[in-house]
Assembly symmetry: C2
Homo-oligomer: 196 residues x 2
Amino acid sequence: MDLLPLADGPTPERSDAARNREALLRAAQELVDHCGTDGVTMDAVAARAGVGKGTVFRRFDSREGLMAALLDRSETAWQAEVISGPPPLGPGAPALDRLLAFGHSRMELNLRHARLIEAAGRAGARSYAAESFAAMHMRYLLNELGVRGDIALLAAALLSPLEAIILVQQTQREQLPLDRVRDGWDDLVRRVIRED
Amino acid sequence: MDLLPLADGPTPERSDAARNREALLRAAQELVDHCGTDGVTMDAVAARAGVGKGTVFRRFDSREGLMAALLDRSETAWQAEVISGPPPLGPGAPALDRLLAFGHSRMELNLRHARLIEAAGRAGARSYAAESFAAMHMRYLLNELGVRGDIALLAAALLSPLEAIILVQQTQREQLPLDRVRDGWDDLVRRVIRED
DNA sequence: GGCTGAAACGGACCGTAGTCCGTTTTTATT
DNA sequence: AATAAAAACGGACTACGGTCCGTTTCAGCC
């Protein structure tokens, strides 16, 4: 028999490629921290990582892809909290409490990374995609609550107002206090899930 | 006494400026029609309108601003329908019927202009801004329905799922039938407005 | 170690958004 | 009609995202 592993998916990354990916992410993060999102030019990232510009594009496809990769780190950490962190965000609390905590937490996360999310454009569309973790978890919680109806669309409806672009509009341009926005979302949730 | 008119706002536009604005909008629209949104480069628009590139930026600030100006025309037509068109979108129908018609109509509009809206970026943020016509009308209808609570936020919550970026995700990437998305929104509305 | 093919690299190059400033046009005034 | 200030114009110029392709490096095999 041969030693080919059974479908290990796409070819594993070559060592220099992996090294450069790390260096590039590092460099990009540092640029975000020191110079803000606008300071993250592809040339600057390449230079700081000590590689050629072509390499940046080879690894991340586009500036948006690079931004999305940056986002992905905090997204992963957040997912871990939802899956196995302390309640009420993590498991152990009643479903409604978890749902509200989920929304509040998502709200904070999206606001904190608003500029990065914007810069990631469509590549940063990680909330509202049905296959996204956030959408799946939202559907799960709605199910737990015994909500009837088109769960997928209800989940999307509850996630939409948590999108960074909406929250920035409300809290920054319209100067609504975050508390009020949060309470408004809670109210929305209660209206959506209540029985007749 | 002097003849200064009482605050006629910002200086009126000079004749050549007005002429060029028209020519530019025309040129941009033609480029959208013939070459798609991507074909609308600032150089192409300037060339087709027979003016210099600097003029395009002077009139519209940025590519996003130009796209937003294009959008503004259909937006205005739509507003006219809502304000004075035939029911149920226009006045004369029961508030709930108007609200549902409003959502369906907005959904179609946003989907039809999805690419333009994306290209307009933040300048195309005409739906979810509280001062926007759509938000104001939504608040008005919710009031008519006697809905209690934070009307401004409820309006935003009902408008968010109608954003082009969400609808494109649902109908194109996830291949949900438009009917289903529409029904989902109707369901959301009924849940939100119903009394306890 | 040496070979080989595939993968990765790098940086010159291209297209486009946006800026800048010297020149031209408009409009109000006399 | 002449004049002058303000506004608008135009196109060369810059910076950045993205591509291309000749060169280099890696990994598996003898």
